[in-house]
Assembly symmetry: C2
């Protein structure tokens, strides 16, 4: 199955989310636009979380932070509403997912701060434009996402494992992929690891059940590349037993109006 | 007068500060090591300030943030003490400098958070090593520092003007200087402006009286280059009338154990 592009315009996709017409993964949608992970936290946890992002810029490249209590974005998608403009959300309480929802209208409060973090779906489109084929796109799926045995650098009450997404490329094209993705610091940059998944404690056949994605199969001559992944805050919510964190549902990203060219080298 | 290098080892310089034997500018000291601006804030202002830094990475490139209440550094100079290891400090209350001090031992409290921000003195050493002569070093001085007419992006209760440092180079070497300094994102990166000082509201003959430095004179064929400066938080403390911010005295930086090679492209 080849994945269909249903939306090319982020505003149209966000409106469809708001109106309940799109509840699916955003993988492959709106190619050329920056997609983002979401983490929403109470104001009193915001410093520790922003410091966590600063100390872990590969999994948590911050692209916008909202004013406390204000769900409206000003920078990456002027006027977009964090409460309604993603396809699906998760609510973590004390480190557990207590519900999945399609909007946050009745649980938004005046002390919530939203953090948008870059997403590797952004450079997937760039890779495809550069002639790379991505197995997960061919299957209409998200890339395989795995919990690594690497710990993030803690900050305040936030700690947890580094989550990674995996893609495979022919050995003679790895340099090109590294160079290309490294230009996108705001969408995780270059791979954090290249080679043996076992060294990261990962079995490629088994993407993590919480974060999902299409299991990566290696073709002859291919090497697996691992990028830091923006669902890391969700693993951190679990490990740190954070009282409240609201996130996107994995794969169901915020799609911004920023173009990939606008985040080059940012 | 050619500036003398008194110290080549950051640990020795920090010890001299701690023991009261060095109260001078650190411009030109410990070439090859990363120097840093200091801002210390109460915990309840830390999120707004870190967000201000995130939104203004050119003047405020964060290189280390301490744990609330702990004056000891862990990353850029293991075991260094923010209370004693700089030559001189300023204390701002409600936006005014209320005192300059040589240590913070009796005013340190359990809720203070320290922020170290990169400093352009770091790349001055790199420029000299690459064969550029710097007029301010030849005079044994700091570079001229000026208040620009550009506003920083506000965050929470922090707002204020962008402060810049100025250096002049021959027109045929500007590209080299831009390329070289752009590699050091953590020490302000490349210039924020090249050319007419009037456009920034700056008179080169008059460095700001608060921030000082050697007035920049243009030789024939030279163009002025302006870098975002890490005393910007001090201007922000004034403009925002912050209840409490403790900083280094301008020119009297924290000298870390990080080498310039360690912050390349960081």
């Amino acid at each position: 199955m080849t994945e269909a592009i249903h939306y090319s315009d982020p505003k149209a996709l966000r409106l469809a989310c708001r109106q309940g017409q799109w509840r699916s993964s955003t993988s492959g949608q709106c190619p050329g636009f920056v997609q983002a992970n979401l983490a929403i936290l109470p104001r009193d946890l915001a410093f520790d979380f922003l410091l966590f992002c600063h100390r872990n810029p590969r999994p948590c490249p911050v692209i916008e932070v909202t004013e406390p209590g204000d769900p409206i974005l000003r920078e990456t998608a002027h006027g977009a509403d964090l409460r309604t403009d993603l396809p699906a959300y998760r609510v973590f309480r004390d480190g557990e997912v207590v519900e999945e929802r399609t909007d946050l209208l009745d649980i938004w409060t005046d002390d919530l701060v939203g953090f948008l973090l870059g997403c590797s779906y952004t450079f997937d489109a760039v890779l495809e434009k550069s002639g790379f084929s991505l197995a997960h796109h061919a299957e209409g799926r998200e890339p395989g996402v795995y919990v690594s045995n690497i710990d993030c650098r803690p900050a305040g009450r936030f700690k947890g494992p580094l989550i990674v997404s995996a893609r495979a490329f022919a050995g003679d094209r790895v340099t090109e992929v590294v160079e290309l993705t490294s230009r996108f610091r705001k969408t995780h940059g270059g791979p954090v690891y290249v080679g043996d998944p076992g060294e990261l404690g990962i079995d490629l056949a088994k993407p993590d059940s919480e974060y999902g994605g299409f299991p990566l199969h290696l073709e002859k001559g291919q090497v697996p590349l691992f990028w830091a992944c923006g669902v890391t805050p969700q693993a951190v919510a679990r490990a740190s037993r954070v009282p409240l964190m609201i996130t996107h549902k994995p794969g169901h990203m915020f799609v911004s109006d920023l173009t990939v060219d606008e985040v080059l080298r940012d």
